[in-house]
């Protein structure tokens, strides 16, 4: 993990691979990316993606959740296929899907973040930098999913992985409200670095929590 989370220019470019089955979207995305990001390659299917990532060893993989090929597992399968590289290569999930199952399954497979495809060029560049720096990237919607899954109130659960701390709850809530990390830091009077720590902790919980039914709440969201 580098010390500067949002550096500009001076550092070596971040090497990425773009995985998406729509060529138009790939080229549009490449055009949108800011300076300091070097696109090493592209892939359109699960097999191509695994091959490209293994060969090119990028810093970050921009990964569509829904991909043809493989055994139908999409982005999840790509991450599973590159499991050995997870220490050096980070995955940022990119999707048009709003379905909680899609998002959470790819996060649980090992993705470091999730953004929707409607994100701005500036937003995606920032997200890539963040993920490359070892941090997690949460869109408002993902934060909403997390809050929905873990509950918005502090409840007594034996396993520490199964609940969010008060601070993490606050951070998630602000992200769900559309705050940037910087704004969250300002609002809570903490440093951006601390916000990143909290978000990474939440990501870890989302990935490791024994709440295997994490995706189920979408179906039976309780009414108050």
């Amino acid at each position: 993990m580098t010390e500067q989370p949002t550096p500009a220019g001076a550092t070596p470019p971040i090497r990425i691979v773009v995985v998406d089955d729509h060529a138009i979207f790939r080229s549009g995305l490449k055009a949108d990316l800011g300076a300091g990001i070097d696109v090493l390659g592209e892939a359109g299917t699960v097999e191509e993606a695994i091959a490209a990532v293994t060969a090119l060893r990028p810093d970050v993989v921009l990964l569509d959740v829904h991909l043809p090929g493989g055994r139908g597992g999409g982005g999840r399968e790509v991450i599973a296929g590159c499991a050995a590289l997870l220490a050096s290569t980070r995955f940022l999930a990119l999707s048009v899907s709003d379905a909680a199952e899609d998002v959470v399954s790819v996060i649980r497979a090992g993705a470091r973040g999730y953004v929707t495809k409607s994100i701005s060029g500036e937003g995606i560049t920032d997200a890539i930098r963040r993920v490359a720096g070892g941090d997690a990237v949460f869109s408002p919607r993902l934060a909403g999913f997390v809050l929905d899954a873990f509950g918005t109130a502090e409840v007594a659960v034996e396993d520490e992985l199964d609940r969010l701390s008060a601070r993490e709850l606050e951070v998630m809530r602000l992200i769900a409200r559309g705050y940037s990390y910087k704004e969250v830091a300002k609002e809570l009077f903490i440093s951006v670095k601390t916000v990143e720590t909290h978000v990474s902790a939440v990501l870890r919980k989302l990935q490791l929590s024994s709440r295997h039914e994490l995706t189920r709440w979408a179906a039976d969201r309780r009414l108050l």
Binding site: G144, R177, R222, L224
Partner: protein, 475 residues
Amino acid sequence: MAARLYRSSDRIIAGVCAGLAEHLGWNVGLVRAIMVASSFFFGAGIFLYAWFWVLVPVAGESPLGGAGTPSAAADAPSERRLKLFRPAAADGSGGPLPGAAGGGSGTGLGDAFGTGAAFGPGGPLAGRGGRRVALGVRELLAGAALLVAASLLLGNQFGLDLPLGTIIPLAVIGTGAVLAWMQLDETRRAGLLNVAGADKPWGVLRFIAGIALVVVGVLIIVAGSGSWELLAPAMLASLGVLAGVGLVLAPWALKFWRDLQQERAGRIREAERAEIGAHLHDSVLQTLALIQKRAGSPQDVTRLARAQERELREWIYQDAARSPGTLATAVKDVCAELEDLHGTAVEVVAVGDAVLTERSQPLVQATREAVLNAVRHAGTPVSVYLEARADAVEVFIKDRGPGFDTAAIAPDRLGIRESVVGRMARIGGSADIVSSASGTEVRLKLPADRNGPEKTGPEKANTEKANTEGTPQHD
């Protein structure tokens, strides 16, 4: 026009009489009485009944391949909107969806084969209501049969020469056949492919009992003409023949069955495809055409694309949470409406949900005003976050516009002062507006209703004032 002739699900034996009554517009009891009475004329009623049983389809089943399906297909879509990414919907064989799609796939193959129709619909809905009624009547029927048997025996005793040697085996065969055929109707109803495990043993037992009775009857006839010594070899021979026929027919029947299954699956897929195609045509293609026409106006294009995206998402993911009459749905609806009106993206994230009550209705209205304000003045995408907890419901509306001085809101700016702050105060909630150069956030909070009825008239002004002064600090 008379109703089509179907066998009714409100049945005693096979629903023939009830179906006939419905068809003719007569009383069921009358039809049944006539049927029973005519049975005494050389069994005419019985033959008529058997005839109808074999040839008339059960209600809900189409008599000729596809003849009944159009109507079924027509009213089905509203019920079963496709859930593309929910595989569970695909294997509900026998459920309403495959039933409607596969309608009449098997019937054309002849009812004599019996199982043919079992692949068809027959909907699991049929036949539950009538069953309870039938139970009692069935016992009566059994009693009547016993009575007839007893009187026959009695007649025999008094020297009436009845060919018992013929009547008994025939009766046994008849009972066996009725049993077996009744079973078939039942499986038709449930859809042979997914008879619930609980029903199965009983059904199989009935079927076997029916066959056994028929075999015994045939044997008695055979043995009656010969001697009882022949019984054992005759039984063996008939079993041998049955086994042989079964052996020959089994692979053929299996293949037949598989083909039918395949065809049925194909039909379902086709129906799904057709539905998807129809939907895409009505929605996406139309929007694309509109977008091409409006290519000159980026705002129109964005608006159309957003609206279409929303509609498509809703269709594909069919949010289980999206039930009418909940707060989240209401908020999403007003945001969608404003998005359409102004062409600015409004992203809604909802956590938890609550029933939309009279008390929370103003919250939705206040949210609408706040979003409207943001859309009008900020010109940037707007984030709406709704959190419904047990103790309170909170809504946050955030934009990244230039912001404004909250203290300097002109008194005549009804939008904010009255529609947002005032509205929230009246229902015992609060509204804060935090604005800076980097954006504005409106925070609405409605605590759970603990003190019974909401605050009313006279207090209005006070609460509003209290709220604008002592703005509760968030976080």
